[in-house]
């Protein structure tokens, strides 16, 4: 019975902590201001009597400490839960669900709460549309990288493939200024480039059993170089009305639907994830990928065509890079030789923060969007708060490290 009391206690701590944080967040939202402002400014705000007084004002006055206390309580709850993991089946189930199955969601939720307290501009529909718009392209890249990581491999070439396909698209539109069909041709060419790039990786990985890390490192260099050969050192601009195809093409990156609330890149991202989710969960190909990532030898003995599955998976990853290349080129209406540089890192980070095991065979692709969203929110809040972009990079690295650490500590054996 004692262990159930302790389980109740830890759940209580969790809930109380979460409630405290939520209340503090609401209070600071009420005063339409941010958490981290100087004390004097805070007092001035209260004195001006903005918003209703009473409880909210009290909470706002102390919200800094309340949030810390709430987070500490929630952390304690988690710690207790993981501690009693082995002692009772019920707490084991609860904590396993929270710490492994739903961990990316838990992180997303807590991050959203804390960020909302840091800036009143964070928790708004416009801002979230903005965040989604910013993550769309690398969430698409991440879906491709997810395939590679699911197989127990990796694909670090996606940034370069993205650049090459974008450059190809821009070049076609720029070279066919009078033909309105150039937009369609550019899209097809960019997708084809992506397919070829992915096939290149998959061919060497599957046919010769080479290390995915090394093969994609090589193609990272090859496709970056190919981009430079194709368009030289300068950007290819397709902005303005000089080119017949540019209006339709650029719409793929800039157009918004539903009164400005649904940018086309978000729509494309949603479509990509819908298809990927279906492939992974409802087709033999998807099952085969999970099986190969989990146990390649057993998959071979079960009659799975391992080489073909790998080839297809890496080709798909290249195809996603092609889609992302179109979106990025269309959004800025130009192709640069350095486009997508180090995007592979953001994509891998999204997959890892989304709880996918780097050992392969386990993961959920929809959590990759959650991972991308967490990174997107992190970038967004830092921009809102005016954090130096140099420091942003350092903080992102720290978060990735933390995610991997969490995976190792609570990972499924």
């Amino acid at each position: 019975m004692k262990k159930y009391r302790l389980l109740t206690l830890s759940l209580l701590a969790l809930l109380l902590g979460a409630a405290l944080v939520v209340m503090a967040v609401l209070a600071s939202q009420r005063f339409s201001n941010v958490l981290l402002i100087p004390q004097a400014q805070k007092q001035a705000l209260l004195a001006r009597g903005q918003g209703p007084g009473g409880l909210s004002a009290t909470l706002f006055r102390y919200n800094y400490w309340l949030i810390l206390l709430g987070l500490a309580l929630a952390g304690l709850g988690f710690y207790l839960l993981s501690l009693f993991n082995r002692h009772s089946p019920l707490s084991a189930r609860v904590s396993r669900l929270l710490l492994t199955e739903y961990r990316p969601l838990v992180i997303l939720l807590s991050a959203a709460l804390v960020f909302a307290a840091l800036s009143s501009r964070f928790l708004t529909l416009n801002n979230f549309v903005n965040i989604f718009k910013q993550i769309a392209h690398y969430a698409i890249l991440a879906a491709g990288v997810y395939f590679a990581i699911l197989l127990g491999g990796i694909d670090i070439s996606v940034g370069s493939v993205l650049a090459f396909s974008g450059a190809m698209a821009a070049l076609i539109i720029a070279r066919m200024p009078d033909n309105p069909w150039s937009a369609l041709l550019a899209v097809l060419a960019a997708l084809l480039v992506g397919l070829i790039g992915g096939f290149f990786n998959g061919f060497f990985i599957a046919r010769f059993s080479l290390q995915p890390m090394i093969v994609t490192l090589a193609s990272l260099s090859i496709f970056r170089g190919a981009t430079l050969v194709l368009i030289g050192g300068a950007a290819v601009s397709i902005a303005g009305t000089r080119y017949a195809g540019s209006r339709v093409f650029n719409a793929l990156g800039q157009q918004t639907l539903l009164g400005g609330y649904l940018p086309v890149p978000i729509l494309i991202m949603a479509a990509v994830y819908l298809v990927v989710w279906f492939v992974l969960n409802r087709t033999a190909f998807g099952r085969h990928m999970y099986a190969i990532g989990g146990n390649e030898e057993a998959s071979l003995l079960s009659g799975i065509n391992v080489a073909k599955t790998k080839l297809l998976a890496y080709t798909a990853s290249g195809f996603m890079a092609g889609i992302a290349g179109i979106i990025i080129t269309a959004r800025v209406a130009s192709a640069t030789p350095t486009a997508g540089q180090s995007y592979e890192m953001d994509a891998i980070a999204a997959v890892v923060i989304g709880g996918t095991s780097l050992r392969g065979g386990e993961g959920r692709v929809l959590y990759t969007i959650v991972g991308a969203l967490i990174i997107g929110m992190l970038n967004n809040i830092q921009t809102l708060m005016g954090v130096d972009s140099y420091y942003q990079t350092i903080i992102k690295g720290g978060v990735i490290l933390l995610a991997v650490l969490l995976d190792a500590r609570t990972g499924r054996k």
């Binding site: 033999a284 030898e297 079960s302 009659g303």
Partner: protein
């Protein structure tokens, strides 16, 4: 007779469902080689794991030089003077010989590592067993035999009194066996006590002084080798009455399912046999006799260098497991953990892994059909699992085996090759698997059952085929098969083999 240095007395050890050791004993004498013999699963390796503290014993005593000991882990055993040389050597291939010998206890001179003195000591240790190896060579460049010498040098550095060798000749080519035996003779002369575990009985007569025989975890006796001959040794090893009930049913002759002629593939050479529908063909032999290699060649995992085969009257030559399955042959692996199950996937996905093609619906997989097929297998094979979404790693060994078996059955194979189908599972699950095999047989499936368990082979097979070093040694009908005859064939008696000529 040497001094009694190590004594394991009345050791008992139980695992869930199995009494692995039942009051087993072993005496080890200084300057002698003691053979520890027994069939697979007789308890030899459990005994050694109890000795080195990997397992804790349930009962009995271990005395080393008159003092009672109970090691908690392998390191303590090492420090206590007991060294084990495992089948899979414990060396770092990229490091040099002396670095391996001194791994974890490097000599230092100030902050630096004292290379010269380590090299000299290693050379001296190796010369003690009269082996010429350059201590500065990298281990990966050495032959397996020389790598074993490096392990022995490690044992000597620790000044081990007792050296346990677990199947040391299994991985050795014949010509290197002799040099290992010379080293063992040297160690004997230096007063080391050696425990020699081997399946190869002829080796016992060459280098061992005494033999201890275990059977089903029980102590069968300790005999000086001089008082033994091959026949009496075999009787000690296998001579037990049939203590299990095998649900054998008589086979009704149906047409041939698989016939193989002169198959060459890797280790397997010139194997021919026929397998009929509704028949169980037992295949046995030592570990390394080519049983698994034969099965995997027939499954398209290894290229054929020669020979032909027919499956259900059609020419059969698969180039991948996928082709084999499509032709109606399925191979169930001997090692479900390594290459059978995908541990992180659930029971459902593991069962349907080979038959997803049959589950194609209008849009993607037909999950409803999948669920109903899986639950019918869970029912009919009585797989104990809380749900079909349970991950495979959470099931017990017997239930895991049934999951792999379900996967095989779902492809509706006409020829089913089972490789050690009851390895590492408890008695109850064994019986259930025997019954499934008989049901398959009654349904007309041709079953080829590879097994090291003599009782199982005798109890279930219509015919028994024995392999030895990749060749077929003989085939016995159910009526003529007996433990002694099979064991004779397993050990390569009945016709001169190259090994025995070389050893003579």
């Amino acid at each position: 007779m040497g001094e009694l240095i190590l004594r394991l007395q009345d050791i008992s050890k139980a695992f869930p469902g199995v009494q692995a050791l039942d009051k087993a004993s072993l005496n080890v004498y200084a300057g002698e080689v003691m053979a520890l013999l027994g069939e697979n699963g007789a308890g030899k390796s459990t005994m050694m794991k109890v000795l080195t503290g990997v397992y804790q014993k349930d009962g009995g005593t271990i005395t080393l030089k008159g003092k009672e000991i109970a090691f908690q882990n392998a390191r303590q055993a090492q420090e206590g003077g007991i060294a084990i040389i495992h089948q899979e050597l414990n060396l770092v291939p990229g490091l040099r010989v002396y670095e391996n010998v001194f791994l974890g206890q490097e000599k230092r001179r100030g902050l630096a590592i004292d290379r010269r003195s380590m090299i000299d000591t290693t050379r001296e240790l190796l010369s003690r067993v009269r082996v010429q190896i350059d201590p500065r060579q990298r281990v990966r460049e050495l032959s397996i035999a020389h790598q074993q010498m490096v392990e022995i040098a490690k044992a000597l550095l620790l000044d081990a009194r007792v050296i346990v060798m677990d199947e040391p000749t299994d991985a050795l080519p014949d010509e290197e066996v002799d040099s290992l035996f010379e080293v063992i003779a040297q160690l004997k002369r230096q007063g080391k006590a050696i425990v020699y575990i081997s399946h190869r009985l002829e080796e016992v007569f060459r280098i061992c002084d005494r033999a201890t025989v275990l059977r089903d975890g029980q102590f069968m006796g300790e005999v000086p080798v001089s008082q033994l001959d091959m026949d009496s040794l075999i009787r000690m090893l296998v001579g037990r009455p049939l203590d299990q009930h095998f649900p054998y049913i008589k086979s009704e002759g149906r047409g041939p399912a698989l016939s193989v002629r002169g198959l060459d593939s890797g280790l397997v050479s010139g194997v021919s046999f026929d397998l009929n529908q509704g028949e169980v063909l037992g295949v046995t032999g030592l570990v390394g006799a080519g049983r698994t290699e034969l099965a995997q060649a027939l499954y398209g995992l290894h290229p054929w260098e020669g020979g032909t085969a027919q499956l259900l009257g059609r020419p059969y030559h698969p180039r991948s497991p996928r082709e084999a399955i499509a032709s109606g042959l399925y191979y169930m692996t001997e090692d479900r953990k390594r290459n059978g199950l995908v541990m992180g996937m659930d029971v459902r996905a593991n069962i349907t892994l080979s038959s997803l093609r049959a589950l194609r619906g209008r849009l993607g997989l037909n999950l409803r059909e999948e669920r109903s097929r899986v639950s019918s297998y869970i029912d009919s094979l009585r797989i104990k699992t809380p749900s079909m979404r349970q991950r495979a790693r959470n099931l017990s060994g017997g239930n895991q085996q049934k999951v792999v078996l379900s996967r095989a059955l779902m492809t509706r194979p006409r020829v089913l090759i089972l490789d050690e189908p009851t390895r590492g599972i408890d008695v109850g699950a064994k019986q259930e698997i025997y019954q499934i095999i008989m049901d398959l047989k009654a349904g007309g499936t041709a079953v080829m059952m590879i097994s090291s368990e003599m009782q199982e082979v005798l109890g279930l097979s219509d015919r028994v085929m024995v392999l030895h070093e990749g060749r077929k040694m003989g085939e016995l009908g159910r009526a003529e098969a007996s433990q002694e005859r099979i064991m004779g064939l397993i050990l390569g008696q009945g016709r001169p083999s190259n090994t025995q000529e070389a050893n003579a």
